[in-house]
Chain length 183, copies 2
């Protein structure tokens, strides 16, 4: 099943449509106004992405009737789309993801609770921690090798990356503690 590759934007759309159906325009406004600014709010990205999701049967659009406004197509998640969203969220967390796709990992977690439940959200956090811990270690070691060779601005930039990752690890532990207190 589902050999289709869905880009990050596609999952962002599925995740946003899960709690509440919305039109393309609604979704654009979310990307434009909230802090999901990493995604493009351009119509040339969103409308074609919605059409692709519809072709794959993951969402369904219905033209809104009644109101005098211009036709407005409201998209809602299909059962198949919900399944796909679940699979994406609980996908194993690779070391690659932690190094390259932190934003996507965070998006998976953000959507997780209503879709897969609090227990699975906690599991996801624990796999973040498991992947981040050795990664921070590796960055520390890389920093040793870099010492004094590179210009100061280069070393500081590396330090920024390291601090950011350590910060993320701390957040992960905080989030785990928060979820464990809930129970």
């Amino acid at each position: 099943m589902s050999f289709q590759k869905i880009p990050s934007l596609g999952y962002a759309l599925l995740g946003l449509l899960q709690p509440k159906p919305a039109s393309g325009y609604d979704l654009r406004k979310i990307f434009a106004s909230t802090s999901m600014k990493t995604y493009s709010d351009s119509p040339g990205a969103i409308y074609p992405a919605l059409r692709r999701l519809e072709e794959q049967g993951l969402i369904r659009g219905a033209i809104e009737e009644g109101s005098g406004l211009r036709r407005r197509q409201i998209f809602r998640l299909s059962p198949k789309g919900l399944t796909e969203l679940k699979h994406w969220i609980v996908r194993p967390v690779s070391r690659e993801d932690v190094a390259r796709n932190q934003a996507e990992l965070m998006l998976r977690f953000a959507f997780s609770e209503p879709v897969v439940g609090a227990a699975a959200s906690l599991q996801l956090l624990k796999s973040f921690e498991a992947a981040l811990t050795p990664y921070v270690q590796a960055l520390h070691e890389e920093a040793q090798g870099l010492k004094s060779a590179a210009p100061l601005s280069g070393r500081l930039a590396f330090e920024a990356g390291l601090r950011g990752t350590e910060c993320l690890l701390q957040w992960t532990r905080f989030a785990i503690a928060t979820y464990e207190k809930e129970k």
Copy 2:
């Protein structure tokens, strides 16, 4: 001049070639092995990008003679390329950049010192601080509006973004202090 738009990868290549000429393969290894993993090490990205830069006159390739190895093309930055790199580094820091292109900003800073000098590196850090301060403020306000409406995982994910940005601001201040101590 220079109406050409150069993607992030192009600048990464220019920045790496500035201190030391290198072949496409050398550059791929840098992307694959060091923590510049945000960039692709795939030949299908790097070789065409190098060719484009060469067509724009920003780098020049020369086939290595002598050694018995297969031909190896060594690229070096041209004067025009150095100018372009300088312009990119000292470009004004917009609020957009801080929200969307943090990685690119950090790359600009990483390359800055040898290219535009320590004083300009410090200036760049100060414009990071100037842009980040109101952005952190805005995120805090957005967090208020979000409170208790969204699921816990969503709120925690937002918190991760906020913490990350605060962490970056702290680093910026630390880096400014480091540069000011140097003088």
